[in-house]
Amino acid sequence: MIPDDKMLDEAPVALATATPAGGAGLPWTSLPGRVAGRDRRPSRFGLAGKIGLTVVVLLLLASVAAPLLPLADPLAQTLTLRDAGPSLHHLLGTDLVGRDVLSRTVYGCRSAFEGVAIGVGGMLALGIPWGLAAGFAGGVIDEILMRIADAFLSFPALILAIGVVAALGPSIVHSMLAVGVISAPGVARLLRSAVLPVRRAQFVLIAQSLGVSRMRIAGRHVLPNSMGPVVVQAVAAASYFLIVEAALGFLGLGVPPPSASWGADMAGAYSNFTANPAATIVPGLAITIGAWSLSVVGDGLRNVLLRN
């Protein structure tokens, strides 16, 4: 939908006065960021989103501040205390070589978020220029770029990551970069369709008439006003990448041992499941909570940024 003057002028008023919370507004594509910002309805980030955001912040803090926390050494093995149950020294017990499960789970945040950061970084670094170029250039370039995006849109990321590990050896950087790159077409498509209406908006026409360069218009005017869906997609992808990182670790194709990693720790402890289920369940619970939190933050952002 291409916004015309009337829509840009009247839409926010109509939204703010006529529609109750949860009601239907205009499609987000017709509302550049600033105009949407005038909408005074209470944010619908939601309770789940707030809980999720709190958990994500806590996990991020834990991954940065793990060495400062009063935790046992995640690598220290106490072979006399293998697969022990919870105790005062080891609140969640120990794993099959007597390492503290709680400490390893907290340190596991690091490789999890490292993997997520690499994946999201790779996805945005490729997807943003891709989508912006397609939406901004239009014509044949758009057609070619979008056909390439279509080709890779549904390629199974985990399988590609395994293929890359087979070629380059286990490395979270290579595998998660591959996952990010194969996810870039999704971002490119979303950004392209968000760019299309914005590049015809009045403020862009004004910038053009003032002689602002195309690069500057694309980067400073169009991109910031079309980033909403990309942000939502990035958070949703982060939730998925967290699971992929853990899955690679679980298959022994992620962070090399003995570093703490949720997936690898689960796999290691699983061989002794009957004796000590906690050592398998706890890191798995961390993956679940992390992935769920990121996904509800994504849902909340979708409600706030992309009201429709």
Binding site: F155, I159, A167, L168, Y270, P277, A291
Partner: protein
């Protein structure tokens, strides 16, 4: 109609082409290229320069890269996916027996997702704004965010190892009895279908709610049609489209899921093969599996698009304009 199929076929050719290029390009990621990997990898294999040159010549690696790609593609199309470094057998022989168990898991999980997930989605739409509807919505929300391999370890651990209700590991082929086969695959299939089933339930649910709140359903109620007729004849048709779009998406997701689930339940499918091939540095096998999966997903996407055009005149008309 024929024109739509032809046009869609024409767009899926580049997709499959791009997939093959991507998979072909993987071998150039190998440190030192494919030849060094064959002669013992980057880990200091013992070979002379002459051996290297001879192998290069034999494999046609002196030809320009596009020519190499073409040869590789033609061979692959003829069912020659190379030779396994590890077992020295043709890759097709290594992968062949592995396809069945994986497909059984994936198709089983697809059927279970469509029946249970689709059913729950419809039920939640019919009973929307009631306790049943909210309970289903909560359950599918949970089902979507639980990693399948965590669920698989717990299911295998608790039901298999601790309580011993199901076998925790192993696979019995159908040829040795359907019941014992189902006994080994039931738990993996249930675990696999939880995420995809929840996903489908969500989409069927929203398609059904949109349909149920549309004017033509109101008209059907107003005309005094009985409930089952309104739901089954009028509204349910709208649940078919999300099911068709779901199949290729779910297939791609289930392929990833089976890799993990097969490894947890020790099922001799492509998932266990690809992981053991990675640790054996058996690159051609990994490459072939990635290729197979990529092409299958592209073909399923094509099938879904054609299927949608076949069942939905709105899509058919929009596409032919």
């Amino acid at each position: 109609m024929g024109r739509i199929i032809l046009r869609r076929l024409a767009t899926s050719v580049p997709t499959i082409f791009a997939t093959t290029v991507l998979v072909f390009a993987l071998r150039y990621l190998l440190p030192g290229g494919p030849v060094q990997a064959m002669l013992g990898g980057g880990q200091g294999g013992q070979y002379t320069g002459a051996q290297l040159a001879a192998l290069k010549a034999r494999l046609g690696l002196n030809a320009p890269v596009p020519v190499q790609y073409w040869h590789w593609l033609v061979n692959a199309a003829h069912g020659d996916l190379g030779t396994s470094y590890y077992s020295q057998a043709p890759v097709t022989q290594v992968i062949g027996p592995r396809v069945g168990p994986s497909l059984e898991l994936i198709i089983g999980a697809l059927i279970l997702s469509v029946v249970v997930g689709g059913g729950l989605g419809v039920l939640a739409a019919v009973r929307r704004n009631t306790r049943t509807g909210r309970a289903i919505s909560l359950a599918t929300g949970l089902g979507l965010s639980v990693p399948d391999f965590w669920l698989a370890t717990i299911a295998a651990g608790v039901l298999g190892l601790t309580w011993q209700i199901f076998p925790a590991v192993g696979y019995t082929p159908v040829s040795q009895g359907l019941l014992s086969n189902l006994n080994t695959v039931a738990l993996p299939i249930i675990v696999l279908s939880i995420v995809t089933g929840s996903f489908l339930a969500r989409h069927v649910n929203s398609a059904m709610i949109t349909a149920l709140e549309s004017p033509y359903i109101r008209a059907a109620w107003a005309m005094g049609l009985p409930g089952p007729k309104v739901y089954l004849n009028c509204a349910l048709r709208n649940a078919v489209a999300p099911v068709i779009t779901f199949i290729p998406l779910a297939f791609a997701a289930l392929v990833g899921g089976t890799v993990l689930v097969e490894n947890i339940f020790a099922i001799p499918g492509m998932g266990t093969e690809i992981v053991s091939s990675v640790s054996n540095e058996d690159f051609p096998v990994v490459q072939a599996i990635v290729l197979l999966v990529g092409v299958l997903v592209a073909v399923l996407n094509l099938g879904a698009d054609v299927g949608l055009a076949l069942i939905d005149p709105r899509i058919r008309n929009a596409a032919s304009e």
